[in-house]
């Protein structure tokens, strides 16, 4: 069970709304099954149907995560007007078996739905998520 504090969920949704109708992407880091940090990343594809994180930002964030003694816990991106389920490209490019892939579906009315998946050897398994309230 991956626990994502509600304020971090709100930030992911806000990111998906700001970048709509293009896809947004980002990284969540934390320890054990908890998330403490969110990093909004630049989608260098600037596309409605794909994302590619800026490699320069990516290595910076990876370094910060290591320095803080955290782990990469989840990778999120949005699916504008598409279901919250991994696409063929998502499966092909899932190079991070240690992470939960979070997909935020967002439609024209800006309604959102978040689901999480582990993608290992092209096999998709739904990951359980919980959104505990944020304290402090």
């Amino acid at each position: 069970m991956l626990k994502i504090p509600s304020d971090i969920v709100d930030e992911m949704i806000a990111h998906a709304r700001v970048d709509f109708p293009r896809e947004c992407c980002g990284i969540l880091a934390g320890k054990d099954d908890g998330i403490s940090h969110i990093y909004q990343m630049t989608n260098t594809d600037r596309s409605r149907v794909s994302y590619l994180m800026d490699p320069k930002e990516q290595i910076k964030v990876f370094k910060e995560i290591r320095t803080l003694g955290l782990e990469l816990k989840a990778i999120y991106h949005s699916h504008p007007n598409h279901p919250a389920y991994p696409s063929t490209t998502d499966v092909e490019l899932a190079y991070y078996p240690e992470a939960v892939y979070l997909i935020i579906s967002i439609n024209n009315s800006r309604e959102t739905k978040i689901r999480g998946f582990r993608i290992l050897d092209e096999e998709i398994t739904e990951a359980e998520l919980s959104f505990p309230p944020h304290h402090g």
């Binding site: 994302y51 590619l52 490699p55 370094k63 063929t88 998502d90 490019l93 190079y95 991070y96 892939y101």
Partner: protein
């Protein structure tokens, strides 16, 4: 030049599970050849048939993307830290 190379999870099947390995080479190209000798098949995962770095693979020398240096001709110095980092991408 002796350098340390950080290996991402999907390639650790080729490095006996190791997340960090040692390699040598004057340039990134030499280093990849050296690594391929020790861990056969690793170069093919990183480069295409014409030897170019695959689109969804990033290689950094001390956190600098080799695409912004001289690519595979990037010169290495003793003690450099090389990171092989898959892109984070999808559709």
């Amino acid at each position: 030049m002796a350098v340390k190379v950080r290996i991402p999870t999907p390639l650790r099947k080729l490095t006996e599970g190791k997340g960090e390995v040692e390699g040598t080479g004057k340039t990134i190209g030499d280093l990849l050849e050296d690594l391929d000798g020790k861990f056969p098949g690793i170069r093919e995962r990183l480069c295409d048939e014409s030897g170019n770095l695959r689109r969804f693979v990033n290689i950094y020398v001390n956190e600098e993307d080799i695409r912004f240096r001289q690519g595979k001709e990037t010169i290495l110095s003793d003690g450099d830290e090389i990171s092989i980092v898959p892109a984070i991408a999808g559709g």
